[in-house]
């Protein structure tokens, strides 16, 4: 038991490890599939995002270039206009005002002259117009010692190069009070001398709004960087200032951002993935603006938004995966539990099978093997050949008060329930028949009891009978059982059976009993359907006709078969018939043969003779004396004399043949012959103490053979059979007892 528990624990541990390995393995596969799928989706999405972002960047770049070109063209045209007013500085204010009114995209406009160009205006003259609070336009002269424009980029660069320039963004503290970029170009007088620069201010707010106003994808935005690394446009305009990106650098920034800025300032194109300070990742694609500005434009795609759907799908996939793993774990747990249960059930079944085998033995032990007491008037034998599975066949027989009680039954179904009910049925029969001699009442009571307790809806077919042994009166009741074979006068037939229900069906069913009177040597063979429903390999049933034929066949053989021989023969035939087919049902057979006793004895006599054939004369005289005293007719008297002589001569010739005294001389045996008779029949009983010798076992001669083939012996037993009504032999203790019975008168 200890070992068993241990091995069971080992087994469970093994099972748990297996389950864990299974879950881990599945998890790895799922993770692999997830990563692969996710990667493919991400790559695909990346390509799509890259493609469309590049397109976006190109088109926005183009758009910006057009816009800048347009502004440059405006300024260029305006430059031609203002040349006419180079001598009228005050008129320039009006021109500027009008210019701003016509071009709403432009924040401010101014013209700065070389120092002392208008002596009446002082050293510095810068006529300036600017938008205020929407569309109101202010003009003023800006040049002064504090605002020395000759030191400013918009003035110095065109003056130096003679070409227009887009300036670095800056915060205009004096004029517009906002972040601006300025486009300025040199103005020459008629002699070709550079006398002034004409400039327009573009608001970075406006530029940022303009660039980001019609982006197709909300997840991305545009930014614009100047030559020196200042932000020109950015969605969050509060971030715009006149510091370069290098100046704004801090330690936290992703080094890639710096690298990217450098590349942008160098006029390169490219694409990088960067991490913002808030941890957000972004894809940035940049290219230079294709004009004189030296600006670089970048489109920034925030991954969180670009990959939002992908992250969502990923999360769903992870949830599904976890769900699947949980389901798998649950299934494994359940399967393990089931397997354990199944195994427990199997162990239980083995244990039950073992116990059932014991139970089957106990049950077989409950079935009687021989009569509880011998009785001259009856021979009974019964046998059960169990099928592989426990069945529900039963039989019983015993003698009480000169009555033979017997039954044969078959419980519906097989297995444990059938065998339990079989035990119950047999016990009921035994206990009820102890106090009741009427088989119909026994069966009726059995039925009521069984219906009351029959929760499994099983039923039992049962043939029950009671034979009054002195008279041969047999009462019987057949509860749905197969009709038994009845052998009377050497003829086998099926008993006429009243139709009754099996036991256990209806409590108030009225069972009909039957009766008949057995005469000498009548035999009854009761069997279960294991006999008739035995199958051969051709799926044919042994059937009732074969059963009847076989019983007839063995009845015809001499000597008259004993119940044991009848049963042996029938089982043998059934097994021959079935061949290798497995026996599917129990085979039970009960056979009985009735030997009718004499009525009132009118004569009783005996003679004891030495076993010597010279004594035959004395024997015959004694037999003649008996028959004459009985008043037997001449023919019966001679027949009896001949039969008894043959029986006794057999004993004299054979019984003591091999018996020797201690000195080697033959034993002088004794033969006793008893005669007992009623008014109609006489029984001669031949008794000797020789070696076992059954005269009925000697084969008959064939009286039809021609003389050449006739054997010399075998006539004696033939005559005995022919001349009497019945012969029985039995070995009783150390004696052979042969009974010859014959009717001598009517």
């Amino acid at each position: 038991m200890k070992n068993k528990t241990k091995s069971s624990v080992d087994h469970q541990t093994l099972q748990s490890r297996y389950n864990l390995a299974m879950i881990i393995f599945t998890a790895l596969i799922l993770i692999g599939v997830f990563l692969y799928t996710y990667n493919i989706a991400q790559t695909g999405l990346e390509r799509a995002v890259e493609g469309r972002s590049k397109g976006e960047l190109r088109s926005q770049c183009l758009d910006l270039e057009n816009k800048l070109n347009m502004i440059e063209a405006l300024v260029s045209n305006y430059a031609r206009e203002v040349k006419d007013d180079l001598n009228d500085p005050d008129e320039l204010f009006n021109n500027h005002k009008q210019f701003l009114e016509e071009n709403t995209d432009i924040e401010g406009c101014f013209m700065a002259f070389i120092p002392d160009y208008f002596p009446q205006k002082g050293r510095w003259f810068e006529c300036y117009a600017v938008r205020r609070d929407g569309n109101r336009i202010e003009t003023q002269q800006m040049g002064s010692a504090q605002h020395d424009y000759t030191q400013m980029e918009f003035y110095t660069t065109p003056m130096r190069t003679g070409k227009p320039v887009w300036c670095e963004p800056y915060h205009d503290d004096d004029g517009a009070h906002m972040m601006l970029t300025t486009y300025s170009m040199p103005i020459k007088d008629d002699s070709g001398r550079m006398v002034a620069v004409l400039a327009v201010d573009i608001s970075l707010d406006w530029l940022s709004t303009y660039l980001n106003s019609d982006l197709r994808y909300k997840s991305s935005y545009l930014m614009l960087l100047s030559r020196e690394g200042r932000l020109l446009a950015y969605p969050d305009t509060l971030l715009l200032n006149d510091k370069t990106v290098q100046e704004l650098d801090n330690k936290k920034r992703d080094p890639k951002v710096n690298e990217m800025n450098q590349r942008m300032m160098a006029g390169e194109s490219g694409m990088v993935r960067v991490k913002a300070e808030n941890g957000e990742k972004a894809l940035v694609i940049f290219k230079p603006v294709d004009n004189e500005t030296g600006w670089s434009m970048a489109i920034v795609c925030r991954e969180k938004e670009v990959y939002g759907d992908l992250y969502h799908v990923g999360n769903v996939l992870i949830m599904l995966m976890l769900g699947a793993l949980a389901a798998l774990a649950l299934m494994l747990w359940y399967a393990t539990r089931s397997v354990n249960k199944l195994e427990a059930a199997n162990n239980e079944k083995r244990r039950i099978d073992g116990e059932l085998a014991i139970a089957a033995n106990i049950q077989m032990g409950m079935l009687p093997t021989k009569l509880n007491k011998t009785h001259d008037n009856i021979q009974v034998h019964a046998a059960l050949v169990p099928a592989k599975e426990v069945g529900g066949d039963l039989f019983d027989f015993y003698i009480r008060n000169e009555k033979l009680f017997f039954c044969v039954g078959d419980v519906s179904g097989k297995g444990v329930p059938a065998s339990l009910l079989m035990a119950v049925t047999r016990s009921l029969f035994r206990s009820l028949s102890m106090h009741e001699s009427n088989p119909t009442r026994i069966i009726t009571t059995m039925n009521q009891t069984m219906v009351e307790t029959n929760e499994a809806n099983m039923f039992v077919t049962l043939f029950a009978g009671v034979i009054d042994l002195p008279t041969g009166e047999m009462r019987f009741c057949n509860a749905g059982h197969t009709p038994p074979v009845f052998i009377h006068d050497g003829q086998a037939s099926f008993m006429e059976i009243s139709a009754n229900l099996p036991l256990g069906v209806f409590a108030d069913f009225t069972y009909k009993g039957q009766q008949l009177t057995l005469t000498d040597n009548d035999a009854i063979v009761i069997y279960t359907d294991g006999v008739t429903e035995a199958f051969n390999s051709l799926h044919e049933q042994f059937g009732e006709q074969r059963t009847l034929d076989e019983m007839q066949k063995i009845e015809g053989l001499a000597p008259l078969p004993s119940p044991a021989q009848q049963i042996e023969h029938l089982i043998h035939e059934v097994q021959q018939f079935s061949g290798d087919n497995m026996q599917s049902d129990d085979i039970s057979i009960l056979a009985l043969r009735y030997v009718r006793p004499l009525d009132e004895v009118v004569l009783q006599n005996k003679i004891v003779l030495p076993a010597d054939i010279q004594q035959v004369g004395r024997l015959n005289e004694w037999v003649d004396d008996v028959t004459s005293r009985l008043g037997a007719d001449e023919e019966a008297a001679m027949n009896l004399r001949l039969a008894v002589e043959e029986a006794v001569v057999n004993v004299m010739n054979y019984a003591y043949k091999n018996e020797k005294n201690s000195d080697g001389t033959p034993v002088q045996g004794i033969v006793e012959v008893q005669a007992i008779a009623d008014k109609h029949e006489v029984v001669f009983t031949v008794i000797d103490s020789g070696s076992p010798f059954d005269p009925t076992a000697i084969p008959d001669v064939d009286p039809t053979l021609p003389v050449e083939e006739r054997p010399i012996g075998g006539l004696g037993i033939f005559l005995m059979r022919q001349l009497t009504d019945s012969i029985n032999y039995k070995r009783v203790g150390e004696q052979n007892v042969t009974r010859l019975r014959k009717k001598y008168s009517n």
Partner: protein, 100 residues
């Protein structure tokens, strides 16, 4: 049981009287030795005075008949009483012998 054998014409006639039971059959076998020695003459078993016969007697008759068949002469039965006829018929002997 008394047995007498006479040669009448070209026949051996055995007169059997009384009861041929088993004990008598042993004795009769000795007395009927001439019938077994005979190899030429037809034989008649006269049972007119025979009252009873057991299987030993029947075997004796059968032996005589077999001797006749072997040597090619007839064995005939004569004067069986009705009881004996029944026994002879019962055992099939009635058809084996020629009955006079």
């Amino acid at each position: 049981m008394k047995t007498t054998i006479q040669q009448i014409d070209q026949q051996l006639v055995a007169f059997l009287e009384g009861e041929l039971d088993t004990a008598a059959a042993v004795e009769a076998q000795k007395q009927l030795k001439p019938l077994f020695d005979n190899t030429t003459l037809d034989t008649v078993l006269d049972c007119t005075e025979l009252q009873y016969i057991s299987s030993s007697g029947l075997r004796l008759f059968l032996s005589i008949l077999k001797n006749g068949k072997t040597n090619g002469f007839n064995v005939q039965l004569k004067g069986l009483n009705p009881d004996l006829v029944k026994v002879f018929k019962m055992t099939g002997f009635y058809s084996l012998f020629e009955i006079l």
